[in-house]
Symmetry: C2
Subunit: 370 residues, 2 copies
């Protein structure tokens, strides 16, 4: 294997204008493990703020699967990241490392086994989908720095260096991260959540638990579609349902949400699949069948689902929007292509037009319902 | 167990004046592990620099066992950390997470098993030694924020939240971190190393490998004493040799150093123990017996061994100084108590007078041989 270049991202250009930085931990508790008292459930929170905060609410950025807060600190080709862009627009920004990863610390004895992505998995879906063509929008991908993000592409090598093992237990992950994020909001007060991918799960659960503290939820390509996972395989029938049973028992989360009428167990939610996709190149959504239950807490939190043009989520995000709308939560849908931002994949905060994508998010936050 | 307070370190006061921040990864290579291509050996490097860099060399801060770069980002009671202090004095600062931890990513399949500290272990030696009295200087400890650092002390709870599992294999750790630090220096050019505890091991090895790039090595209570580990037990005979055989085969490292005359194997180094301690409350040092070999590369790198008044290393650091002096490297010795800085323990960068300790280091760097 060729060694990963160590100079892909230079320090100086990644800097940008000065900001104020700090950190703290939230959510830990002491627990006896074997013969030792250790800490469990703690989450690292890194903060940056401008000299003068001009926005009413801070932003909490929550990364997705296999990632850490590094996603938001800069791009793998050495440009300033979303954190910097938001700070320049007057936001105080909090960036977490999910419980159990990065500077939050691993703990397999308590949290369970870990898993990791191969280069191939990330190339196929995140950074070089145009070469693998596993979903209808893959060929539209143009925004990875330096061309398709494969081994040997300097930005890919830096990005891949930032990947860390993640908890194999998806349910366990939600049960660990949700309370830590709630502890963070209880500490810092009302805030805007910006979640990416997997972290959408946490964003819905935290919005449900703290509808008065989540002033808005920007769900960037949230984990989905509702209820089931799909495997992408390319071609005309580009997807198939994968796994046994529901991946997300409550539609958009594995943990219970506040439904009305209440549900006693996931089986109370009736699932039906749409007869046809809502548009070409989309999947047939799984939604609630009758009786459709509402999500009254989520209905109180302004939300937007942000979808790139060339992502493996492009074909499924509308199903999450539809599921929420059906339950009375009516999130906005921000399709980057319709805003003139073409060719992005899932890791849009790392791609060539990352600042423009950030500005689109900031524009929505500025205009969102109060 | 009482939950750890989540509000021990506030964001705002931890900030201080604005600085410029960035990051990159160094040292990774692709490797096939089971059925996946993953990255091995990569190290996360976080950078901060002032608007105007006024110092000739950047500083690379390397944390010790069980820690991450978080040690240098702020104190657990919410004050700015050493990184901020150095930046304010005009240094560009690079802060790493050791290979295999934190944002560098764990990898037990390749790196081997991990270990972790209990609260008790850290209280005894790092934060509340005055309550356990396991070494002659323990009772002098006064600098932990909010009194002795035990469970329930808010600063201890934040500090303990920042602990992460570390590689159980000490030799493996050196073999992983040394090349990553060398890759960092090869990338950024000449720099001053500031190492803490365990990281002293890396500092000596990197100085030996790159004597022209390490402009100085500030070894804050480096891993020691030479050759053997000691177990602290309090009382008149407060220590005993622990473990079988040499803990550090080459005296101050487990990896080979450049000796003159050369050594073919560790057994070429003759070890003898001093008949008496050099001072009261010190251990009897293990040093080289005849023929004493020199360390010509280390002799070219200005170094200082920094020792706190009330640390578990206070009794052993002079042995490391003596070992190096005997080999012709003649490091300086900076005893904080003699500089008027009283009552510090090993985690001096987190303690009440952390800025004053940083200033003592900066003073030595300013005056060091060119």
């Amino acid at each position: 294997m060729a060694p990963a270049p160590s100079s892909a991202a230079e320090d100086a250009p990644a800097g940008g204008p000065p900001t104020v930085a700090g950190y703290f931990y939230v959510g830990g508790r002491y627990e006896r493990v074997a013969d030792k008292t250790v800490m469990v459930g703690q989450m690292f929170v890194q903060s940056r703020r401008p000299a003068a905060v001009t926005q009413p609410w801070p932003v909490v950025m929550v990364h997705g699967i296999s990632q850490t807060g590094v996603n938001f600190l800069g791009t793998p080709d050495g440009r300033p990241g979303w954190a910097q862009r938001f700070v320049e627009k007057g936001f105080a920004v909090y960036i977490v490392d999910q419980v159990g990863r990065g500077r939050s610390g691993t703990n397999p004895e308590v949290y369970g086994p870990y898993a990791r992505f191969s280069t191939r998995a990330l190339e196929e879906t995140y950074t070089a989908q145009e070469l693998y063509d596993l979903f209808p929008q893959a060929k539209l991908h143009t925004q990875w720095p330096g061309g398709p993000g494969v081994q040997g592409n300097a930005a890919f090598d830096q990005f891949f260096a930032s990947q860390v093992p993640y908890l194999a237990g998806a349910q366990q992950t939600e049960e660990l991260v949700d309370p830590a994020l709630i502890a963070l909001l209880d500490k810092i007060g009302p805030a805007v959540l910006v979640t990416h991918g997997q972290a959408g799960l946490f964003g819905w659960a935290v919005s449900d638990a703290r509808p008065d503290l989540v002033k808005a939820h920007v769900a960037v390509e949230p984990n989905g579609p509702p209820f089931f996972d799909v495997r992408l395989r390319g071609g005309k029938d580009f997807y198939e349902k994968s796994g046994d049973g529901r991946a997300r028992a409550y539609g958009i989360t594995r943990v219970p949400l506040t439904f009305d009428p209440p549900v006693k167990s996931p089986e109370d939610l009736v699932v039906m699949q749409a007869k046809a996709p809502a548009a070409e190149g989309r999947i047939r959504c799984w939604l609630q069948g009758e009786p459709v239950r509402s999500l009254p807490n989520l209905a109180r939190v302004p939300a937007v689902i942000v979808t790139a043009e060339a992502s493996f989520r492009t074909a499924v995000d509308d199903c999450t929007t539809a599921f929420l709308a059906q339950a009375g939560a009516r999130p906005d849908s921000l399709k980057l292509a319709e805003a003139g931002l073409r060719g992005n994949g899932h890791m849009m905060m790392l791609e060539k037009n990352s600042d423009a994508v950030a500005d689109a998010l900031i524009g929505w936050i500025a205009a969102r319902p109060r």
